[in-house]
Symmetry: D3
Subunit: 238 residues, 6 copies
């Protein structure tokens, strides 16, 4: 089966970053992985949550939501007490992943809010979110540094998230929606530019996978992550 | 006081419409009134609410929300039962306004969902929403007509919304955020291309206004509406 | 079509105010506009909301609700997170309207709570609420003055709210429920005894209205407001 | 200590019933026990809850709430998911009590909604509610009978609720707020005109009571109930 | 009809207490009344609610819930704003009952949380909860005393709760589920080891009961309470 | 550092299963991993969710909660709209894991509800939950088979969940709470008795991990899973 954007099994879809997409946020990036588009913003506010007060360090938290028109059938908003378990899971993943590469002790008592709002969904919204949010966070920290709100530069390295999966027996990188809905296994990898893992999340709804498949997926993820790191660097320099 | 975009008291800010902004929605328009940007989408689903079932007509409803990074200080999401009264008021206005220019009896038993999500806020988000939503609705209806889901073309005419106000004694059209926050009176007008009113909403938080000021604001609204109608026609033809 | 209470198009229904309806509230008025009856109460509490603390001024807020048996078909209560958009809209209107005629800086750091609970609904509950709440507020302020809780008398003038509309081509004042449900246009005017506007809210569900109709409705509202001001003065003196 | 309204320990406060207080409800009674005033309404709707569908019988349910200005310090409304445990308890008691004297099988598949809204609270709101609701129910059933919506007359007998308590060692009937707040024991009795019990609820917040005190309170309740039955009969005949 | 566990009308089911059931709570008791099993825990935390701050005394509150598998048909959890009125009523009863035998002024500013979670339900879960919670509270207070967190020993006496009822004309003690579902009257008694009442709650869903039946039920409750007090003492000594 | 229960780095804590812990559920198991105790129950109900109706197959879903006294500091209940993101994540994991080893098409149109309620928490509650829930599910299916509610036996194989982690540079199996709180990396593995993976979830709050550490943790998980499978088989045979 041919892949969208004429790509081989190990390729990412075209990656684009539109920095400074929103005027009011110090960091704001519209990230595209092919047709998947997520607006990632980073904003700081004064103060930290109760459990950190007086410790002289910062905090970072994340929220994730899909716009109603981002999916094929209209997605209801998370209002009035209804809870979307999938959104809760994804925003916890985004927050945890970014916190792995930032040294909150090098910040002052400020909270960075990461918001990932899916404009258009075609598979891989959580990996695009993490990848774009890293860039928004970088821009936000740069603005904070300019205002002397950091003790030291707190970001350790780059961060990328890749989805890999097994479709029809073949290991694919960066699945789009049509591939994802046929996948036997679905794995999300969060990887640093120092080649270490932050998160490894593999699941097989209604199925299982072997040690050998796991190894192939980890390898495919490494290759995809290199493509992302290159795109991030280009966006920062561009 | 000079106005943004070098405009005179009676001028709208630059109006832009990016049609087909999102692939999954039959109607989707990113509307800009200067720095105010709202993504307006229109999606149809089968069926109508209970109170209309079996009457052989359609329905249309609207929702409005602001992305967290759209404002100067981060806007909290409407989750977990918290109710933002302002959002409720605005989405009811959007729905009512659009229903004034569509003949729901010419639709079949389908519901059109209008979603207005503010990407960037700089005053006038409700007027931009109505203006952009009209265009998204037009595109959605065109798609429905192509699928033979309409009995007849149901849209009666164009629809525009304009904010007018009194700032420092002067009547201004299309206030941006800095003007709005100094305004003595704030009025939103929803007007059809047949020169009739759909909504007239004038309020003066902590103040009052005279009959003469009301008349000047109504006149200014008429002028602004003509600028909007021209921009909508250009977008449809372009 | 003959109007209820044998009145002409420009007449209000009989207006009654029962002051001191409830013992525990410093201001409490049962207002009747014909068969529409609303219990309006005004209570002060110490302190102001966070955003005003330390500014040495007062605050006023309003809530509106309908008793379950006030309408023809039982009205469900606003409990357990369900949100009634119409109630939200009305209580915001009540609060805004009253704040236009009170100088909060002449109060001390206290909050006045206005509660409007509809006992019986027959059209015009929001205009009756504002009209009765003004009287309840007056009684509450008188009680506060007696306890020396005001710097100066803060109420600038009287406040009246009138509904006007177009029914079968004719402009009517103070529509009852049966008129309201046939109205082509429905407008609520909030007017001060100094002949200025506080709010002008005209809407046409599923229709539009002309400049000429707007003018006629504004004129009819002025006439109705005079009838209300007279009734308020009589109640205060009685 | 002298009692309000110059009454002896075994006396009820003056009991008043204003029938037909609200036009839209088939049963509506403003009941007063001295200064305690509750608006009790009874409305029927077609159909019954799921668990009774197809059984050819009726249902009855009750809701209880206090208006914000009914108490000395403003009572917050039960909105937005906040739950007032006391209200839940009282409305369950009202429903259970009335269901004990109505034969739901003699109704057709209709639901009667009892609403008790406290206008002014001075102790005994739950006993006034049950007592007034019985009369509203009676009027509602009379209206249903006139429309041939009942198989047979379903009300078995009259129903009264009395509060009794021990204050300063003395057993009192129908405690007002100032007595209630000093009471060592507080008991609510729901009694039929056939001299049988429907509910016996005695509690002693932070204390206990003896068998002998229990017996005296039960006796006092019987006496109070007779005063209520007489007042109800007079209201029905009047 | 023979009763479960071969018992006579006045007998309790076998009563068992497993103390120290959970390691993390200072008081934790798995109480069984026959097949009814409730885990009762008592935990203290520092501080008291707002209304008691600075008064130098303690507080105690209770929560009650049923595990989903405790009943014959799965019991839905109380999540997402849904309110189970019965649970609210029971947990208020538990808290009130225990507060009647503890002198909160002999505690320091600490709050004791009583949690009663029903593991298996076969009638009488509220009486088993109160009975077991008293023991958990005793163990919790013992631990607090050891840490010198009490001024004096605050527990006045033992506390027992018994359900009694009328089934087929006969007065029974400690009804199991099959008896409870056929009962004409159902009464819960909370009694101290000093032979005084804390709560008397008798109800007859859809029926009534006589003075004579009330007397018999009160007597049966006294007998049952003695069996409970003996079992509690044995557990404390064992 | 010596490990609890005198075990080596690759050892599980003592595993115990108490089957038939609750009478009302067809499957109910109290599972212990050392001091961690979870009550896992499995109940079936008729019917399936909307999205599966008419497809002639079954469904299975899971819920997870902690009792308030299960943790060192009291755990607040998930009531009144508050959302615990961690619980949502865990119950989605439990459901997905079990669905990987059951063929829902071999069931009839029934839903199995898995409930995991933590009685005592000492690390590894999610792995104990999955491990115990598999046994409860097995018992539930056996009961369904006896009632001829299955087309064929739908369970493919055994299922075990193991936590592994890196603590002080050493890879440990089945971390207890004190180890978990010092761990650099924390990984949960869900593994079938056919040696395949169902879920691989590794995370490093605030840190990263290497390919080599990942490999060692996967190996340790395999060893732990064998210990679990043996214990499950023994429980089923015992």
């Amino acid at each position: 089966m041919p892949r969208s954007f004429d790509r081989s099994p190990g390729d990412m879809r075209p990656i684009e970053f539109q920095r400074h997409f929103v005027r009011n946020a110090p960091g704001s990036v519209l990230v595209s992985f092919g047709h998947t588009k997520v607006l990632c913003t980073a904003i700081w506010t004064d103060g930290v949550p109760n459990f950190l007060q007086g410790k002289g360090q910062g905090w970072m938290t994340a929220e994730y939501a899909m716009l109603p028109a981002s999916t094929n059938t209209r997605k209801q908003r998370d209002r009035a007490g209804r809870v979307d378990g999938r959104s809760v899971e994804i925003q916890r993943l985004i927050g945890r992943s970014l916190r792995a590469v930032i040294d909150l002790k090098k910040m002052t008592e400020r909270t960075i809010w990461i918001d990932c709002d899916v404009i258009q969904a075609d598979g891989g919204t959580r990996t695009a979110s993490i990848t774009g949010a890293w860039l928004a966070l970088h821009d936000c920290l740069t603005a904070m540094q300019a205002k002397r709100l950091l003790r030291e530069w707190p970001l350790r390295c780059q961060l990328a998230a890749v989805s890999v999966g097994v479709v029809g027996g073949e290991v694919l990188c960066d699945l789009d929606y049509s591939e994802d809905s046929q996948a036997d296994v679905d794995m999300n990898l969060v990887i640093t530019s120092e080649q270490e893992f932050v998160e490894v999340q593999g699941a097989a709804e209604g199925r299982t996978f072997t040690h050998s498949q796991l190894k192939q997926m980890l390898d495919a993820g490494d290759v995809g992550a290199q493509q992302i790191f290159a795109a991030q660097r280009e966006a920062l320099e561009g």
